[in-house]
């Protein structure tokens, strides 16, 4: 009987602890509208209509800056693939936190160089996720494919495979955001600025580490906000 109560207390305590913690979600927007794969969005700057069919990216090196009596940083060792095709990937796995004391959140859009030289890895890092280049070693940090009216490529298709872990083409980018005092915290990536600054009639393909890949990754890293 005593064990029953201890067991019950443990389960109750765990459930209660979970209640105190919040979850972190990701969301992708196009000019403040939630992106749905296959839907068409209008870019008024480029006068283009855009349909996104694939959107995946890695987040890693996540850390939370607390300001309870003193400032401190909690590092959360995740390397997660956010895949718009699979809604459950939009929720950051295995973390929970007390929102009240957090001031800022830091994460990397993409993967660190160590993971790029560590051979065949599993789970979100398994090459079957379509985020590993085969002709040259290295992960694709951010992959976006779709079609646009202005695109001059075959079948009007654009392909942005942004990656690169070696200098001078290191395309992973740090993101820093102020943390809101809310229970449901959503990190939003708005693609509008990316497409505003991309003339798809000329720039429709990035498939290898390059200056342009770095530039596009930089734009994306500045397109995050938190809600």
């Amino acid at each position: 009987m005593r064990f029953f109560f201890i067991g019950f207390f443990f389960i109750f305590h765990q459930a209660f602890s979970q209640d105190l913690k919040s979850q972190l979600n990701f969301e992708v927007l196009f000019n403040n509208k939630v992106v749905v794969l296959g839907n068409t969005y209008f870019d008024s700057i480029q006068n283009d209509s855009i349909k996104i069919n694939t959107l995946k990216f890695y987040i890693s090196e996540l850390s939370l800056e607390y300001n309870d009596d003193v400032k401190r940083l909690e590092n959360i060792p995740i390397r997660q693939l956010i895949n718009l095709e699979d809604p459950k990937t939009l929720k950051v796995k295995n973390i929970g936190f007390n929102v009240n004391d957090i001031e800022r959140i830091f994460f990397t859009l993409g993967l660190d160089s160590l993971v790029n030289v560590s051979g065949a890895l599993g789970g979100d890092l398994d090459p079957t996720n379509g985020m590993y280049w085969s002709w040259q070693s290295g992960y694709i940090n951010f992959k976006m494919e779709g079609v646009s009216r202005n695109c001059k490529n075959r079948k009007k298709a654009f392909h942005f495979h942004l990656g690169g872990y070696k200098s001078p083409f290191i395309s992973n980018k740090k993101v820093t955001l102020d943390f809101p005092k809310k229970d449901v915290v959503t990190v939003q990536l708005d693609l509008y600025d990316f497409f505003n600054k991309t003339d798809l009639s000329k720039d429709f393909k990035i498939m290898s580490p390059s200056k342009l890949s770095n530039k596009k990754s930089e734009i994306l890293s500045k397109s995050f906000s938190i809600n």
């Binding site: 030289v117 065949a120 090459p127 085969s134 290295g138």
Partner: protein, 324 residues
């Protein structure tokens, strides 16, 4: 052969070799994984139409290279742009492919699996096919205690078999271990080798596995400029990975594009072929060898042939594939 033990009990490094660079802790070697990797290596299931296996271009009898063709051919008789390199002593190598585009043995297999002129498949297609195969489901369970086949486990198994391809039992190795002696001709060749070749083809692996230009001009029909494709640095134009000189009798033709079919042609190039080649001035130096010296050098190079490696039945086609 004398061995020294390293952390991984199933992989032993020959005593006269440096420490391997492969990270065994992330993929500890086991006999069942080696056997699984061996089956995958010889199974054409890896290619799109089940016609090409790794062994198609990496035959055990050719020290796991491909002879008779200057450029290797893959699916639908497609001819690629490079001569398939010999596979042995891979645990001592950091970069793979002639231009070093691949940074780890575990991910090397992705390249031929995906290449449209090699296997024209994808790691996803391979995993899907293997998941439907009873033999492999059983073998993966045996090796990884998990019947769910993943890309990671496919690649790691292929690595394990390739790690087992250690060539360290040539006459040269026996001389180093004081079990045999060089003939006078071989000894003269060894001295010539040490004076002229050892900087790039560093013994006992017979390569630094670095990148260099050896002065051969660009084949304009291929437009292959080697390492520059990976680094985008001008200084890396026409640099290719330095191959090991072990097992040369089994792994002809020579060079990244297989342009030389005999060792005599290679030595003639180093002796006479570099002088007029402006592209190579910053890299290879011309070496002056008399005809007798070339013969001595070739005699020495023959001591690097490792027949017990090339004809090792543990590396050959696994009979289990016939009955699966």
């Amino acid at each position: 052969m004398a061995f020294k033990s390293i952390d991984d009990l199933n992989f032993r490094s020959p005593n006269h070799f440096p420490n391997p660079v492969y990270t065994f802790e992330s993929n500890p070697v086991s006999l069942s994984k080696i056997e699984l990797g061996r089956a995958l290596f010889y199974d054409p299931i890896l290619s799109l139409n089940n016609s090409i296996s790794c062994a198609s271009c990496h035959s055990p009898f050719n020290a796991f290279s491909h002879t008779d063709h200057s450029l290797s051919h893959g699916i639908y008789d497609s001819v690629g742009t490079r001569n398939s390199p010999a596979l042995f002593n891979l645990a001592w190598q950091k970069n793979f492919m002639w231009d070093g585009a691949i940074n780890h043995l575990d991910v090397q297999s992705l390249s031929p699996i995906h290449h449209p002129k090699e296997m024209a498949s994808s790691i996803n297609k391979v995993v899907e096919k293997l998941k439907k195969d009873r033999f492999y489901k059983k073998q993966f369970y045996k090796s990884f205690s998990d019947s769910t086949i993943t890309g990671q486990h496919v690649l790691q198994s292929l690595s394990q078999f390739q790690l087992s391809l250690v060539s360290a039992d040539s006459k040269y190795d026996k001389v180093k271990n004081k079990k045999e002696y060089f003939s006078k001709k071989e000894e003269r060749g060894y001295q010539l080798f040490k004076a002229n070749c050892n900087n790039c083809h560093l013994e006992p692996l017979f390569s630094t596995y670095d990148f260099a230009s050896n002065g051969i001009p660009i084949d304009k029909s291929l437009q292959d400029y080697g390492r520059i494709k990976v680094t985008n640095l001008k200084k890396d134009s026409n640099l290719f990975k330095i191959p090991s000189l072990r097992n040369l009798s089994f792994s002809y033709p020579y060079m990244h594009d297989g342009r030389f079919s005999s060792l005599r042609q290679v030595l003639n190039h180093y002796s006479d072929g570099i002088k007029n080649n402006e592209q190579s001035l910053n890299h290879a130096k011309s070496m002056s060898f008399s005809s007798n010296e070339k013969t001595d050098l070739i005699s020495f190079l023959m001591t690097l042939n490792d027949t017990s490696f090339v004809f090792n039945t543990k590396h050959q086609f696994p009979k289990v594939l016939l009955s699966k």
